[in-house]
Amino acid sequence: MPEAPPDAGSLEPVAGWGRHPIVPGRVTRPEHLGLPADPEPVVPRGLGRAYGDAAVPARLGGRVVESTRADRIRSFDADTGRLHCEAGLSLAEILRVFVPRGWFPPVTPGTKFVTVGACVACDVHGKNHHRDGSFGSFVERVTLLTADGRLVECGPDRERELFLATVGGMGLTGLIVEVVLRLRRIETPWIVLETQGMPTLEVMLEGLRLSAAHWPYTVGWIDCLARGRDVGRGLLMRGRHATAAEAGARRRRSARRLRVPLDAPEWLLNPFFMRWFNRLYAWKHGRTLRRRVVSYDRFFYPLDAIADWNRLYGPRGFLQYQCVVPRAVGCRPVSLMLERLASAGAASFLAVIKDCGPASEAYLSFPLEGTTLALDLPYRGEATESLLHELNAIVIEHGGRVYLAKDAVTRAEEFARMEPRLREWQAVRDRWDPARRFRSGLSVRLLGDPV
């Protein structure tokens, strides 16, 4: 029962996973989520895996409330998989506690180091989006601490508008305090994985489409450095939870996490090295279909095996860009983007491609029925930003949008053209937070909030 000193928050640099931009903020990490007594703007934050400025304060020294210490499980129903928890509980903890008992997160992004609150706020999606939709579809209730200091419960069946504005609302409708969600039953912790080399973008998209019918998890990796007739070349991966018979007597090895100890020099990730890396990778794999059984960590979270991998991109950090374009427009926008990236040279080395299922009703939820493309770009100042604005133009032209959890450079006018439901969402936000108590770097940049 230690008595903590009154916590004014320590001033520390705050950044997203891409480490650009970095803004000093006053960070509190309470064991009970609450709002500071003063009326200053607050940005809610989880484990800091959003790449851009979604969980970065709107102004220098702005307040940040980090949820990671509010991580208690309130209840779990072993018959239905219904989990009631505080918002700071991470998917990593959920996996650690519940996988041995045969339960799995219903939707997971590419890292397990995310909080449940952030999964709601970003309405994250995963390799099963084509079949199961995004995280919000498995959420029964959200307890929100709103700007006026009230605890409000919302869900699909109560305060529905607030719920739809909160799912994917980037933490801007209130502080998510507790969440009730449904976990998925699994027979084993193992994944049956099939991989196959794909010679072109068309073949990749067709492969994703055909796999979707039978496989709950699908995704493709595209070699962005391939040129000419090889544009769009890559690897298709599809998986499903293994049955006990398929898993056999496998035992989990406790993998030691590697750590990137310092900022890598910028020349390390150069196109020359990476082109050979990608070529060797593609060459080794060829076109053959390979099937094996792998751990869920290996399948869902390959990068989590390396702590602080974001430091590989050097001291200037990097940008991640993810967009989605409707299926109806075909693969043209994707190949346009890949060509643009290839001609920009040092741009991206690897892109992740995935087909999405129907869009959610949540106003600002990212996925829509179509193709999503995600890539990393080392941050090299103005050149990188203008490249992304060019990609944004392609996305807007084809009726697509970008994923706010990754975004750091999109402009307000671009976002307004991507997001037809923005006005409705703003109306709900006006009702619950007229003074913009909840404010972030992202909300200033994209929604015109005052600094």
Binding site: P2, A4, D7, G9, S10, R72, R74
Partner: protein, 245 residues
């Protein structure tokens, strides 16, 4: 193990209780805030502790309530065979130096209260053939430094007591573990400047559980603090006078 746990709701105590829960131990929570203990009890049950996890009131500043609290734990767990005390008071040197009431309360809880509780529990455990007492002291008790000698003094006394308790009760079957955490990132230390080698609560908890199993009498966590404190303990006084930490 059937564990009576003081301080399981917060920080390192929360992390340690969860580690014990994951092993399927039976836990009974003791503390001041019933609502907090209720929340942690449900959390620990969901994480694998034997159901139900109960709780009862205990305030380290009120030794007159200790017997009743230990009785309640005995009733709930059939028979307690381990007592863990992670709870305690904390204050910055400046606050404690200028507020005698606060200093008195801290010394009373961290030293007097914890000693009286552990002594009483040791007698009970010895009478029934043995058990474990694990209490959290601090590296701050290893050597006085100007920046935290008041908090450090309460922990120095506690460390000495636990050291002796282990000597006195080991052959009666009671194993005493003194945990000396270095700087650990918790809500308790929020706002303090973070020194090098700062630890995380879950890593500390893993260390403590291993030390319980190995029946050690003292454990530093993170373990590097054992070597840091070896150096700090051997610094000549002239050096300590000069440095500001």
């Amino acid at each position: 193990m059937n564990v009576a746990f003081v301080g399981a709701t917060r920080g390192m105590g929360r992390a340690l209780a969860r580690r014990l829960a994951a092993r399927g131990e039976a836990l009974f929570l003791l503390g001041r805030d019933a609502r907090e203990m209720e929340l942690s009890a449900r959390d620990l049950e969901a994480r694998g502790a034997r159901v139900p996890v109960g709780h009862a009131a205990l305030d380290l500043a009120r030794p007159e309530g200790f017997a009743a609290a230990l009785d309640a734990a005995d009733d709930a767990l059939a028979r307690v065979d381990a007592l863990v005390v992670t709870g305690g008071a904390f204050g910055s040197q400046e606050e404690l130096a200028r507020d005698p009431a606060r200093l008195g309360a801290l010394l009373h809880a961290n030293f007097t209260g914890t000693v009286l509780l552990c002594q009483q529990a040791a007698e009970r455990l010895a009478a029934r053939g043995g058990g474990l007492i694990c209490a959290f002291s601090s590296v701050a008790g290893d050597r006085a430094r100007r920046s935290n000698y008041l908090y450090g003094a309460s922990k120095a006394g506690l460390s000495a007591f636990l050291d002796g308790l282990d000597l006195a009760y080991r052959d009666r079957g009671v194993h005493v573990l003194c945990v000396k955490p270095g700087f650990v990132r918790t809500a308790m230390t929020a706002g303090l400047p973070v020194p090098p080698f700062a630890g995380e609560p879950d890593a500390v908890a893993g260390h403590v559980v291993a030390a319980m199993d190995a029946r050690r009498h003292v454990v530093y966590a993170p373990s590097i603090w054992q070597w840091i404190m070896l150096i700090i303990r051997s610094l000549p006084r002239a050096v300590l006078r000069r440095v500001r930490f």
